[in-house]
Structures are given as structure tokens and as C-alpha cells.
Amino acid sequence: MTFRTKLLATTSAVLIASTGALHADGHATHPVTGETLASDQSFTYRDLDESPSIDPGIAEDAAGGDILRDLFEGLYNQDAAGNLEPGVALSHTVSDDNLVYTFTLRDNAKWSNGDTVTAGDFEYAWKRAASPELASPYSWFIELMALENASAVISGDADPSELGITAIDDTTLEVRLVQPLPYFPQMLTHFTTFPVHQATVEEFGSDWTKPGNMVSNGAYVLTEHVPQEKLVRERNEMYWDNDNTIIEKVTSLVINDENVALTRYLAGELDRTDVPAGQFPRLAAEYPDQAVSVPLSCSYYYMFNLRDGAPEELQNTDVRKALSLAIDRDIIVENVLAGGQKAAYTFTHWATAGFETPDIPMASMTQADRNAMAQELLAGAGYGSDNPLSIDLVYNTSDSHKSVAVAISQMWKQTLGVETTLANQEWQTFLEARGNGDFDVARGGWCADYNEASTFLDLMQSESGYNDSKYVNPEVDALLAEAKTSSNAQANYDRVEEFIAQDTPIIPIYHYASVKMFAENLEGWPFENFQQNWYSRDLYKIAE
């Protein structure tokens, strides 16, 4: 018995003996920090929308990921700083060619029904996630992991049994890759790689994710789920590290409107909510201990259409560069967004692990110098007051995208005399137009799939399905290919960022921040975790 469990046992004995004194302060303290814990250890937070799925194999959104990290546990977890820590796997070894990973699993990991979590559960889950039969929208993640035969399994050319994962025995798992991936272990904290309980899935079919049916191996179990209203999860007594879980009950409430959510937060109904755009300065002044802005692993950018047949004027690098230079990013982040976002001159988010932001010349210039250079470049390209450049800028309907677009079009107008026509499109229409190349300049946003620069820079690869600019540069392709197998890819990433600055297929505008309100007594939030991957079992509430 550890020190902490002894302590809990004693305090609960005392509590049981003195019923009615339940609200007395100081009935338990945090095992590490020694802070006095609140008697109510429930955590309630706002989600923007109902998640499409809470089946680890099918799930696709970040909010669903938050839920799944509570309900399930993969091979590895992330600590408060985003570093790997053992989950179901205790450790792994890698073959000399970096292609075969062998994981040693803990023998005390349990499913919520008492079954032991085995290597076979992972094998089943990964094969299921890749199978055409499940048709998961996230099956591409298995492909991204470069698992042997992943592409063939997904396209139906190989049987799922041929996927590069084998349970050697209950506690030994072998994974085979087709190419070395330096960040492969980091990918194992993603929900697509979480194990699922085969007997449960087979018994209930697609109903297995409903409360009462679901068997899971995380620190919490699903106890209630009313779509578009709420999802409740409670402590899993079978979890191997249950003794260290402090939060008893976690509730996510679906509240579409962020202002309503803020009202409910201020009324004390929520422990965490999002700060509506533009309100951070006010809230930070009023509630300095509650309003928090931390870097979030996404980049906001504008892309140029570089396809054949796209408007001629934007095929000129100088024109694109002038447009990039003329954007005063400091005004965007400080006055328009005002939520702790940072001006971007590189596509890769500045806080990405192992990434040192390279020196992009534009970044160190003053805005006056940038404007002067922009004017010069645009004049050199033959545009001026007698021949003004006019472009269409399209973004998906949203107040904050609109504010940014309006500000930027004003900057272009004032500095360069460019006439910008703004058009907002409903989301699906926008995606279709952008994917089909039906735009001059379009808004883009990209969030990291894993904490490494290639998750951003791979978009610049000529053949990438996400390269909506259709930017083609063989040198960039070669640099990116080389980075995949290099143990130190920073030099390659620097070069790619330089190419982006030089060729300007896109204009990086700002790097996202996550702006939220947190209840004053909520502790243990992993603010340092760049992907904001949090686990409810790390949280606790202190007595006020």
C-alpha cells in the first residue's frame, strides 16, 4: 500500500465514522503537492459540438479525443509537458533498421469488466481501424503510421490479417513499419491506436459505444451519453492506476454558443469553457486567475491558387510576396484576435517539439520596411495606381475569419492599392471550391496530427492531398523525403520554411492559441502540453 492509499483509507474511515462532517475542509490532500482537496471532485466542461463518434477506431475530432483519452488507454500517454510516459506499454525496443518495434505491455492493465488488456487487443483494434469493413474516416492514420501493408489493407487489396502488427504473447506486441519514422512512438498516444475489447464489439456491433455496453480500459468508464446534451464518465475501479485518480466524475456538456457557455461558466455550472473571440483582454483583466491563453498546435494561413488556369497575376512570385509583406500580423494578433495568438512568418507552429523557428528575413523587419519592400515588388511586377491589382479572397463563414479578412483587405488596400473582393462561403461549399481550385486566395487552417514539424510541412509536398495551393517544388519534395528518415531533420525543415518564405505559395498569418477559462480551484491542467492532450485523471480540485 502506497503512502497515498493509506492516507485515503484512513481519511475515508474517519469520514465514515463521522457522517455529517462530509463538508468539513481538509479531508484529503494531494499526494504530491499536499494541497487540501475539495470534497467535490467532479469536472464539468463545455464542448462545442457532439463528437461524430466515441469509437476509438472511428472517432475523428479533437473533442472526441479528449473523451477517448479518459475512457481508453493506448500504449503510451503524455505527461503534462507532452512527453511520453508508459500507458499499457511499459517500454519498447527498436530493431537496428528502425522498422520493427517490440513493445512490452504491463500485465496489470484491466478492462472495466475485469478482463486483462493484452497485446491481442491492440492487434484487433488496429486491424479493425484499417479494415474497409469498418470504413473509418480515420483509417488513414494507420497509413500515416507507415504500418506494413496499411495502404493495401485500406484499399481492400490485402486482408486485415496482413497488417504489420502481431501479438507475440499477451504482453509482447510487435509492430512492423515500411519506413523508419522517428516520431512513431509519439503517434501512439493518438486515439486511433487505442485498444478495443473484441468480445464487446462483436456482441453489440455499432451499439457497443453506448453506456452499459461499452467496456473500456482507461481511468474512466462511460456512464451516461445523451447526444447533443452531455456525456458523463466516472472513475473506473478496474484501472491499474485507479488509486491515483482524484477526479471522480467528468461531464462534457454540448453548448454550441460560446457566449451562452461563458454565461454558464460565470454562473458556476462549468469548470472550463472557451473564451469568445475578442473577449480575452476583458476577461483576463476581470478574472486574472481564470482566463488562460496557451499555444495551440494549429496555423492560420492564406493560400494562393497556383494551378494552371488560375489568375495570371498570382503566378508572379513578387506579387505573392508583396501581399504577404503588406500584412501587419501584429495588428491581427493584438487588435483583431487579442487572445494570445502569435504572428506567424513560418508555417510550422513556433511551439512544435524539436522545432527551432528559422530566421525568415521578413520576421525581423519593421512593418514600415516590409511595406516599402512590398510596394517596390508590386510596382516591379507592373501594378500601381493606374493598373491596380484586384483579387478575390474567400473564407468560410465565421465572424473571426471575417474580421481577419476585412483587416487584411484594408492593409492591402492602404499599402498596395489592391482591390480585394471578400466572399464568405458555407463550410461544405467552401471546402469544395477550395479543393477544386475555384479561388484566387483562400483561407486555410491546419492543426498538427502529432507534435513534429512534418505534420505541417508535408502540406507543401507536391502530391499531398492537402496541398490546395498545388505548390510544386521538387527541392521541397526532396527535403521532406529526406527528413522522414533523418534523425535530425531541423536543417531540412529550415530550408523548407525558407522556400515557403521565398516562393510564398501560402501566407502564414498567425499561430493559434487556446483561450479558455478555468475554474480557480481546478489544478493539474497540462498547460505545457502543446497538443493540449489532457487526461482527467491528472486533474484535481483544491478546497477553497
Partner: protein
């Protein structure tokens, strides 16, 4: 009467079928699709998904399969967006919520609306009339997306009397704000229709006769004036009732009730074809049903009407 009902129900079936076909065509002609996202799916992944949901088949076959599933098995298919659920799950969860707050809104709107209208008409041009007209105009011009946040501010943040949202199976304290927000504008319309209808009736000869006979005012109103007054109100109530029980996206968004209005609007944004179809059919069927109910009530209240 019976043959009238049978005839109306028989017409309802082709009406619904036409509704299905038109919605199906409109839906498919909208740009985008259910599986588009910021991050386009690799073609082989998209192919698997389209095969799973039958989207790889020709358009006519999809529509035939769909109608066949609905007619034979009452199966509206799986939701494309909420992949753990079927459309039947979505409706089974959302519709009771909407039905509950819609029903209570209806009760409130009718009770308060008719009372206000009658009171205003009887005491025409008195302070009661002005007050009633004032209230109903105020309620009419205050849209529920303004009303909802104001209610939240007052009852949740300032007074702390009511929870700011959620449903919790429809407990009364979770119902109060949705019902107020949803019922006010309906209440206002009902009050105005009732008032003008009552004024018209009060000026007719048979009411004057009743008064001349020396009947007490209360009896004149309840016994003679009420029935003809209510007829125009009734034709408003049919569609209004359907409107209320099939939900309001505003109510669902502001009070996180999990009702069907929100699913309906989200499904349109997400191109969740099967959910759009399922809810469209539900709303269509209810509209047809309640129009029929209104017609039957008409005949029952007004003996002059015979079908």
C-alpha cells in the same frame, strides 16, 4: 366525415413521396458531401466509406433503396455524421425532448394568448386592451434569439434560480426558460388573432340578440362568442403546433436541450443526408397530420362546415 379522413390520408402518401424525392434531389445538388472536411480523405478511405453507406451507387438506386427501407422496415438508415447512431436513434432521442418543451410552449401560448386576446377585446380601448396589445407587440418584436440570452442573464447569472441549460430528462426547472422563449412570439400572434376575431364576433347580430335577451355578459362570451372567435385561431394553431413540437434550433442551441431542431440544422450543414431526410419526413408527416386534425376540429366546432 370518415370518407373525408380516408381521402385525406390517401392524398398524404403521394404528398410525402413527392417531399422525399424533392428533398433528396435538393440535398444532392448542394455542393460538398457528408465526408468532406478541412483534411480531405485519401481516395481509398473515401471509397470504403461511400461503399459502406451506399453512396457509390447510382442516384436512382439510392433513392429507391431509401424509400424501400423506409416503407418496408421503417428504417431511415445510419447517420453519416454521428457514426455510432442511426437516424432512428437520433429521432428517438431528440423528438421526445422537442415534443415536451413544444407541448408546454403550446399550452402556455394558447392559454395566455387567448386570455389576453379575449380580455383585450371585451375591454376594448381600456387600459386592459392597451396593456394586452402592448404585451403582445412586445413579445412579437422580441425574437427568441434575443429573448434566450436575456433570460439566461437574468435567471441564471443574476438570480441563480434556474440552470443555464441542459435537459436532464425534462425536469421542470430545465423546462422553464425554453418554454418561455419558444412560446412568447406564438402567444403574441394568438393574442392578436383572438382579439380581432373576438371584436368582429362581438359586433355581429346574434351577439346583440343574446345581449338584448338580457343574458349576462359572461354567458354571452363563453356560450356564444367563443366558438366563432376560435375558428381563425384554430387554423393558425395547426401549423403553429407542428412548428413548436418539431423544435427550434434557437432553443436547442441556447439551452443545450438536445432537441431535434439542432440536429436538423446541423445535418444540413454537415450534409448528413440520412438525418436531413428522416427529420424532413417527420416534419412533413406531422404537418399533414395536424392540418387534418384542424380540419376535423373545424367541422366539430362549426356545424355549418361539412366535408
Amino acid at each position: 366525415m370518415l370518407s373525408f379522413i380516408i381521402r385525406r390520408l390517401a392524398v398524404a402518401i403521394p404528398t410525402l413521396l413527392i417531399l422525399v424525392v424533392i428533398s433528396f434531389i435538393l440535398m444532392y445538388s448542394a455542393p460538398g458531401g457528408p465526408f468532406n472536411s478541412e483534411r480531405p480523405l485519401p481516395p481509398e478511405v473515401l471509397a470504403n466509406i461511400e461503399a459502406k453507406y451506399g453512396l457509390d451507387q447510382p442516384f436512382w438506386k439510392q433513392i429507391v433503396n431509401y424509400v424501400y427501407g423506409v416503407v418496408t422496415a421503417f428504417d431511415f438508415g445510419p447517420s453519416f455524421q454521428y457514426k455510432d447512431r442511426s437516424v432512428n436513434d437520433v429521432i428517438a432521442q431528440g423528438f421526445p425532448v422537442t415534443l415536451t418543451y413544444g407541448f408546454w410552449s403550446f399550452v402556455v401560448a394558447v392559454t395566455v394568448g387567448v386570455s389576453l386576446g379575449v380580455a383585450a377585446a371585451i375591454k376594448q380601448n381600456s387600459w386592459i386592451d392597451y396593456l394586452a396589445v402592448g404585451i403582445s407587440i412586445g413579445a412579437q418584436v422580441l425574437p427568441n434569439f434575443v429573448m434566450a440570452p436575456i433570460l439566461l442573464l437574468i435567471f441564471t447569472l443574476w438570480l441563480g434560480w434556474l440552470p443555464g441549460g441542459g435537459w436532464e430528462g425534462g425536469q421542470w426547472n430545465y423546462l422553464v426558460m425554453p418554454v418561455i422563449a419558444l412560446s412568447t412570439s406564438y402567444m403574441a400572434s394568438i393574442a392578436r388573432i383572438t382579439r380581432s376575431s373576438m371584436l368582429e364576433v362581438l359586433n355581429t347580430n346574434f351577439i346583440r340578440t343574446a345581449q338584448a335577451k338580457g343574458l349576462p355578459m359572461r354567458r354571452v362570451i363563453w356560450r356564444h362568442a367563443m366558438k366563432p372567435t376560435i375558428l381563425p385561431v384554430l387554423s393558425y394553431l395547426g401549423p403553429a403546433f407542428v412548428g413548436m413540437i418539431t423544435g427550434s434550433v434557437i432553443i436547442d442551441v441556447f439551452f443545450s436541450t438536445g432537441g431535434i431542431g439542432q440536429f436538423f440544422v446541423n445535418s444540413a450543414f454537415n450534409r448528413d443526408y440520412s438525418v436531413i431526410m428522416g427529420i424532413t419526413i417527420l416534419v412533413g408527416a406531422l404537418t399533414i397530420l395536424f392540418n387534418l386534425v384542424v380540419d376535423i376540429l373545424y367541422a366539430w366546432i362549426d356545424p355549418k362546415i361539412r366535408y
